[in-house]
């Protein structure tokens, strides 16, 4: 088979969750220089929740969006530069306008899986400025395949040039992925992408299922460096796709170099499937909540697993980290 698969590298964005958004200029510089030689299509940089998301709710960034974007841009010649935007966190005037002026090539506008219409203006603006705009549906396990398709069609109508569905909680079984990606690929006119999390150890295999079902864009992070149990490990995907005779145009040795650099210079603790990540997937809660749940539960002396289960029970979405403390205090009073 010679189908073309675009690999989209979220290491310096999703990985920000894993280090509480403390990326340094040197780390961005070193990574961008290495990745630029690999042939990878695009890298995404920024705070874990994207542009304008540095907050006490999710975590304050060490660096400003401006410094992150400019540092990456200065070190990229071949690889495109992408950013993540969630309307509700970032606005066109405060954030997107500037980001485009700093040289961003791709803006991935994300909403909770049922709220696509919040992205209309942002996608429209990016297209108007002649940049690439994707539509992303987060926490996609919380919607039926039919609803996901409706929401994806909305984003396509707004001008999105690709639709990516995110398994933000890492809770999909292979069949869940197959069903959704097939339905979307068969009914959309734009390429479909998949973004995995590894909470149940399925990030790589679910990504392969997505490709079989018609996905043309796959998100990954080297060393799996991402929120919670991390993402699909990018260098593994490259090796697998090469073995399966897909055309990715990526130099395996060079992506392995980038992975080694991340292992040595970026990762504080190895990305693994922690007990809490398993609970997060079962509860269907956003992987990025892990660090907050851990800290708050410790402080209020409650079981973080109970907190996750309650978050899941309340159908809490990404951006509602403020609920964690409320739940912890209620659990503490109950005990």
């Amino acid at each position: 088979m010679t189908s073309k698969i675009k690999l989209y590298d979220v290491t310096l964005r999703d990985g920000s969750h894993a280090i509480s958004h403390q990326l340094s200029e040197q780390q961005i510089e070193a990574y961008a220089q290495l990745i630029d030689k690999t042939g990878i299509y695009a890298i995404e940089v920024g705070h874990g929740n994207g542009l304008g998301a540095s907050s006490v709710l999710v975590g304050k960034s060490k660096l400003s969006d401006e410094l992150i974007i400019k540092t990456a841009k200065n070190n990229l010649q071949n690889t495109k530069l992408g950013i993540h935007v969630i309307p509700g966190f970032a606005t066109i005037n405060k954030d997107i306008k500037n980001a485009l002026s700093w040289g961003v090539d791709i803006v991935r506008v994300a909403s909770h899986c049922t709220e696509a219409d919040t992205t209309e203006k942002h996608i429209g603006y990016v297209r108007e400025k002649g940049k690439e705009a994707y539509g992303l549906l987060m926490m996609s396990h919380m919607a039926t395949p039919e609803i996901l398709l409706d929401e994806a069609i909305k984003m396509q109508t707004y001008g999105a040039e690709a639709i990516v569905i995110l398994d933000s909680a890492g809770s999909y079984l292979p069949n869940d992925v197959r069903e959704r990606i097939s339905l979307l690929s068969q009914n959309l006119n734009v390429p479909v992408g998949f973004h995995a999390h590894n909470n149940l150890g399925l990030a790589i295999s679910n990504s392969l299922v997505a490709i079989e079902a018609g996905a043309q864009i796959i998100d990954g992070a080297v060393k799996g460096f991402g929120a919670g149990a991390g993402n699909a490990q990018l260098e593994v995907l490259v090796a697998l796709l090469e073995k399966m005779k897909y055309n990715t145009n990526i130099d395996l040795y060079k992506i392995l170099d980038a992975a080694d650099m991340v292992e040595n210079k970026l990762i504080k603790e190895p990305i693994s499937i922690s007990s809490l990540s398993i609970v997060s997937a079962i509860a269907g809660v956003f992987s990025g909540f892990s660090k907050h749940v851990k800290r708050v539960s410790k402080e209020f002396g409650v079981d973080p697993r109970d907190v996750f289960m309650e978050l899941g029970h309340q159908k809490i979405v990404a951006g509602q980290e403020d609920t964690i403390i409320d739940i912890a205090i209620k659990l503490q009073k109950r005990d």
Binding site: T91, N93, H112, E115, K315, A318, G319, D322, I329
Partner: protein, 288 residues
């Protein structure tokens, strides 16, 4: 005699306002004007026997005597056009869009000041829920380094207008938050949650304060909650102020009255209840 008021915009906000005006001792709705006589809101108004029009603001231009005060529940872009017309006609305007042309008003904070102006801006639902609390804390803690507001509303309570105006929501709320608290460093975040049954509106307020006087803060917050509850009965403190990780944190929940919209639409209820409170104040002052 009651104060004659007109409503521009017959969507969720406009229709809920209408029902609240029906209950008011001081206000009478003399015009309900939009673009489509078959809209759900229009049909509701028809059933209540309210004078209707599908000519939008033209209905007021053609018959300026019909009202003294206008609620504008259209959109930010429309309000910019409406404001100039209504000013010429000498109408008091209560603006429920995030156009931010007029004076920012929060009834529990600057109701008296509002009476001196002819264009009153209701800020946003999240602003009405959280800014008075942040303001009350700013009155006892002079050095607030940073304030962040995180509001989550039920998806079903966010109509097409709210969804299209998320950026304006953020920018307007941030501007008003800085204005009332004098804290320059602020951030506002909005989430939509589609969970069923729909959740109540929730707003969490984070304030970065060194060595806060938590007892004093709690006392001020409780006083402010009681003041707001007088015009928004479903307003409540969901998380009492705690100090965690260098931040004073508290949460507010707002349940709606369930007038035109379901109870979970506390976000719409609070902005409408605040708008009615201002109109009622104008009505009372006119009588004297």
């Amino acid at each position: 005699m009651k104060l004659k008021v007109a409503i521009l915009g017959t969507g969720n906000i406009g229709t809920d306002l209408l029902i609240k005006i029906f209950r008011s001792k001081n206000l009478e709705c003399t015009l309900f004007s939009g673009r489509n006589l078959n809209s759900k809101g229009m049909l509701k108004a028809m059933s209540l026997g309210v004078p209707l029009s599908d000519k939008g603001i033209e209905a007021i231009v053609e018959n300026p005597e019909c009202c003294d005060l206008v609620f504008d529940a259209t959109s930010a872009a429309s309000h910019i056009l409406h404001a100039a017309v209504l000013k010429k006609l000498g109408k008091i305007v209560i603006d429920l869009t995030p156009a931010k042309l007029g004076l920012f008003v929060i009834p529990s904070v600057n109701l008296t000041e509002a009476l001196e102006y002819d264009n009153l801006n209701m800020i946003t639902c999240g602003g009405q829920a959280s800014i008075p609390i942040a303001y009350s804390i700013s009155q006892v803690e002079k050095h607030i380094e940073y304030i962040e507001l995180v509001s989550t509303i039920a998806s079903k309570s966010a109509g097409p207008g709210t969804r299209a105006n998320i950026d304006e929501y953020i920018e307007t709320t941030e501007k008003a938050l800085s204005h009332f608290t004098e804290c320059k460093n602020v951030k506002v975040i909005l989430n939509l949650n589609p969970a069923q049954p729909s959740i109540d509106m929730n707003t969490t307020i984070y304030l970065k304060i060194n060595n806060p006087n938590m007892a004093l803060i709690s006392e001020e917050v409780k006083k402010m909650v009681a003041t707001i509850k007088a015009y928004v009965p479903g307003y409540m403190l969901a998380l009492e102020p705690v100090y965690d990780n260098g931040l004073v944190i508290l949460s507010i929940k707002v349940q709606g009255l369930g007038d035109y919209l379901p109870k979970y639409a506390g976000n719409l209820d609070i902005i409408n209840s605040a708008a009615i409170a201002i109109a009622a104040e104008f009505a009372k002052n006119r009588k004297q």
